[in-house]
Amino acid sequence: MATIAERRRIARLVHRFGFGPRPGEFSTLLAGGFDQAAEKYLNAPLRDAFADSQGEPAVSDQGRRPAPNSAQIVAYATEKRAQLTSLSFWWLDRMVLSEHSLRERMTWFWHGHWATSYQKVDDALPMYLQNQTLRRNALGNFTQMSREMVNDAALIFWLDGQTNTVKAPNENLSRELMELFTLGVNRYSEDDVKETAKALTGYKVDKSSGKVTFYPKQHFTGSIRVLGTQGAFDANSLSDFLVARSDCALFITERLWYRFISSMNPLSDLSLTSSFASRDISALVKAIGRHPALGDPDNSMVKSPIDWLISSARALSITPSQFSNPNLIRNYLDLLGQRPFFPPNVGGWPADQAWLSTSSAQYRIQFATLLVKEGDLTPISSLAQNKRIDALADWLGIVEWSSRTRMALNGATRDPARLTLLALCSPEYVVSA
């Protein structure tokens, strides 16, 4: 039998680098040991047969919004809602169905990193294109990713880049590019913000199609001084310049640490940044996934609402788009405060305690009540009652039950649905211990 330490490392691997185990998977991984599990979880092929079998979402260029009282407006608005729904459930389904979930996990990480919201972009196609950019580069080279992102229609529009002109620079994009995307706060000066804004002038967005066009005449062609270097920059050369700085390696390592190891205990091993020397994201992710800190009991994390929903759905074999009323899934994600394509701001979503309020406890109970009604419970309902509690831990990828939760579960072994509901709401499942 695997030790608790071994269970913990594998459980964290599966819940943090993936989206939780599918039925039977955790036991198989335990039998093979951590190294074998890490080998599987930290290497994701570019294509995922299960997730890719979903095809593409029904999104297309809707053109400009018709006038408020025109005849076309109702059809336009209906189609707009349908596109957002299609896009949202397409992604939720991918997360649930992926065989190698690291790629979807990393796409989700980057969505929170380059956090762009549909709230302002208000067109599904540019959000989809950005999502594909993030997925394509999720485990690739960060220099390439950053280049593609500074040319991304949704991101530029979100941060007002399309109205950034030589005459009156808009600093929104330039500031966040350094503060939140490449270097980290206070690793640049205010003059750098003003100067880099000039480098980002001349990019115009056609929002509904997601096309970005560069207009040399509206671009500042003079020389600027950025972080002590004088030269002429455009978005691409600026991105390359920022990404090449050592602060970028430190910053990206800190962000991955924050989401995969601990948001409470800051990056403690600076040597990890060397894995990012060539800006190879996959190499850094592997180094973090195999770092001893992953096994440190102090580094527990709260599952965010998406983590919690997707891991529950994987265990219970629920495909979000096939749910009897998919709107309920959207509504509960809203109530819990985390809906794909709607990060709260450019800083992305919060972590840990933020998800442990009394109101989230309440919504989690209600949400779990729905999930167990539609989920496949045979992994425990097929077993004798006295085997169910331990099987539940293996099914869901839980390190160990506390005596408190064992007591609560003991009273419900006759009823697989109640048993599963309690497990999904238990501190052992809500927290990746």
């Binding site: 600093e171 924050y258 701001n345 979503w349 309440q362 209600q366 007591m407 109640r418």
Partner: protein, 408 residues
């Protein structure tokens, strides 16, 4: 940055990890305390309103007749007929008629040019400075440290919403949070099963015990108290009926203030309340968006003050309104403004000595295109600590010497 709220702010500051864990209160617990140990009438109460995103001070307290203001802000400058006179050639944003009528009753102090040395233009860093009351990376909030200077009481300082703002974070003890919206508590056997999950276990790590506590709090209900909460918000009898009728429905801020009004009226033993409104990061199309938000702030506060008058607490309550920075003087090409430096801070209430404080930053003497800081925000905090919370400021603000004589 499109919108910033308290919850969102936590992520980038890492404040979720700072300080002591917040107690999540049930509204019933507070109502219960209001009945068993009500706050004595005459005890000062502070309500802090945080405007997230960086409110544009120049379009809040407007130098509308200044030709430099007009020339630097084509497209977003107000015209004289749009704004409300304050005196000293300054005018209030036209959407803030509620605050304006309190100003005319001498119940509003406007401190001009408030900030701190070497303004930080990151939303997250600057808000961390304002909320901690210390330059540099403090792990606690100024009111969190105040909570720790007082005898232990989870009801002393409460933030509305589900996440604790860094403002109320202390080292060992913090303020509490009160989730908005009613809680729908399970009943029957589901309730008794879930309640078992709310017991803390010896093997729990910190986060697991917090998860257990959040479950337990859900059931911490004393059912005989609910009438207070089900009752409508206290009436605001002396307001013209137009208020509330034209704002396009409830906003989150007015919901938050309504709950505060109910619980203050009921006698909650709470000295500090924290509420917030997001959306002030107006890089583009600022004029309409900001005036809607300021209208919400103004209507919310004037209604709240009216509710306080009806409940005999109006002499006790002081409202403090601030944002993490002002915005650049010159408009950008998107009819918006980028991150700037100083801005006005508002204090409202019958205790407040109405009028202007601090110098209006001059538009002819900009530093790096930005407004000068003429009052340090800690001057205001120090005076609030001493005059509203009756606590020596030295303990909380590290021997800060400056004061602003804001109170009667």
């Amino acid at each position: 940055m499109d919108t910033i709220t308290r919850r969102q702010f936590l992520k980038a500051t890492g404040a979720g990890a700072l300080g002591a864990a917040a107690m999540s209160l049930s509204i019933e617990e507070i109502a219960n305390a209001a009945i068993t140990r009500p706050l004595p009438l005459g005890t000062p109460i502070l309500v802090v309103v945080t405007l997230y995103g960086g409110n544009d001070g120049l379009n809040t307290v407007v130098p509308v007749n200044d030709s430099i203001y007009q020339s630097l802000r084509p497209g977003i400058a107000y015209k004289p007929e749009d704004v409300l006179p304050l005196g000293e050639n300054l005018y209030l944003n036209g959407s803030m008629s509620g605050v304006h009528s309190l100003w005319n009753k001498n119940q509003v102090a406007i401190v001009r040019g408030v900030g701190y040395p070497n303004s930080d233009r990151s939303h997250f860093s600057s808000m961390a400075i304002w909320q901690s009351g210390i330059l540099g990376a403090a792990k606690t909030g100024w009111l969190g440290r105040w909570v720790e200077s007082q005898p232990e009481d989870p009801l002393l300082a409460i933030s509305l919403g589900s996440v604790l703002p860094p403002l109320l974070a202390g080292n060992k003890r913090s303020g509490s949070v009160l989730p908005l919206g009613g809680l729908k508590v399970p009943n029957g056997s589901l309730a008794s099963d879930c309640m078992k999950l709310g017991i803390e276990s010896r093997n729990d790590n910190l986060l697991q015990s917090m998860a257990a506590r959040s479950m337990r709090n859900l059931f911490a209900v004393s059912s005989d108290i609910t009438p207070i909460l089900k009752a409508p918000a206290p009436a605001a009898p002396d307001l013209p009926t137009a208020i509330g009728g034209n704002a396009g429905g409830d906003t989150n801020l007015s919901q938050q203030l309504d709950i505060v009004a109910k619980l203050v009226t009921a006698g909650a033993p709470t000295r500090v309340w924290s509420v917030s409104l997001s959306g002030f990061d107006t890089h583009a199309d600022e004029k309409g968006a900001q005036s809607i938000l300021l209208g919400v702030v103004s209507q919310g506060i004037s209604k709240f003050m009216s509710q306080m008058r009806a409940s005999n607490r109006s002499k006790d309550v002081v409202v403090l309104v601030y944002s993490e920075f002002g915005r650049r003087v010159r408009g950008n090409a998107s009819d918006g403004t980028d991150h700037g430096t100083s801005g006005p801070v508002f204090l409202l209430g019958e205790k407040v000595k109405g009028g202007f404080y601090g110098e209006q930053p001059s538009l002819t003497n900009l530093k790096n295109d930005d407004l000068a800081v003429t009052t340090d925000f800690r001057d205001i905090y120090a005076s609030v600590l001493e005059k509203v919370l009756s606590t020596p400021a030295e303990k909380i603000l590290g021997n800060w010497k400056g004061r602003t004589p804001l109170f009667n």
